[in-house]
Subunit: 167 residues, 2 copies
């Protein structure tokens, strides 16, 4: 694994995402890394992230796939351009669509491993597939279509100096 997570390279003003922003103190603050050609994120759900007692909430699992997917898309776009994630200009992605198949209940109490695979980088669009593994078993499979945020919008965001109201 690399030392620094993908999300640690996001500009401050793009780091308030509830799922993956390192500056959103109320959020999940997931961290994603390369592992060869795959990406991985380890996340331990909190005790109240449940669907029914003992099993993880599906909306949280969808959120993990969403943010690990957009993080993977950004990392793949830098790789495709042959440059590191701290080089300029910053590349950021938003989710265009998300699909999640819940194969079996995901047990609470173990760290979850979210694994991402880049299927295609096509212009500004990146297709990612992902799995969630709990206790050695794949419990969830997902797909993310991520689209690069227009440069003009990134510029507008990163030059804001005010923090969001909540943080």
């Amino acid at each position: 694994m690399s030392e620094k997570a993908f999300q640690d390279y996001y500009p401050d003003q793009m780091s308030y995402c509830y799922g993956c922003g390192r500056l959103n103190e109320y959020g999940l603050q997931i961290k994603s890394f390369w592992e060869g050609d795959e990406t991985v994120c380890i996340f331990q759900p909190r005790s109240y992230h449940i669907a029914v007692p003992g099993y993880v909430y599906g909306g949280l699992l969808a959120s993990l796939i969403d943010c690990h997917g957009t993080g993977t898309a950004a990392a793949a776009a830098y790789r495709a351009e042959g440059r590191s994630m701290d080089s300029e200009p910053p590349l950021r992605f938003l989710t265009a669509s998300l699909h999640v198949d819940y194969l079996k209940p995901t047990p609470l109490g173990v760290p979850l491993e979210v694994r991402g695979n880049v299927q295609e980088v096509k212009g500004r669009k990146v297709m990612i597939t992902a799995s969630i593994i709990a206790d050695g078993e794949i419990t969830v499979r997902g797909e993310v279509v991520a689209v690069q945020v227009p440069e003009v919008m990134v510029e507008q965001l990163i030059h804001k100096t005010d923090k969001p109201a909540c943080i």
Copy 2:
């Protein structure tokens, strides 16, 4: 709208869901109602539920569609059997798959309206489509395939007397 939300009829031990359980004090506690043949849920995201400042987090939007979808599935199953939601045995649904298309950014600061439509009730499976409307515009569309929880599992759950560790 009916007086009591779908989720208010769930047995206590099935009311700890992070998205829709009335007994999960850390959760979203969404409430869904019939409105003619559609179902509706109004939800006001919290100030930290953001993707980027000013816009709602996609994982939250997926969670709203997920829980409003399973709630709608349960309500539709009772309707299909011609009985009220407080009659026995309780019918509960889990998500088999979730698909979300993010059509445009969803603004923060306005109540979101999640509208569900029952597409098909087929045995133990219910197909739901849903939209999220913010400020009069549809920003998200989704689909949920919900599957009825086996009776034996419902029985096991509702006869547990212990509260989950977190609550």
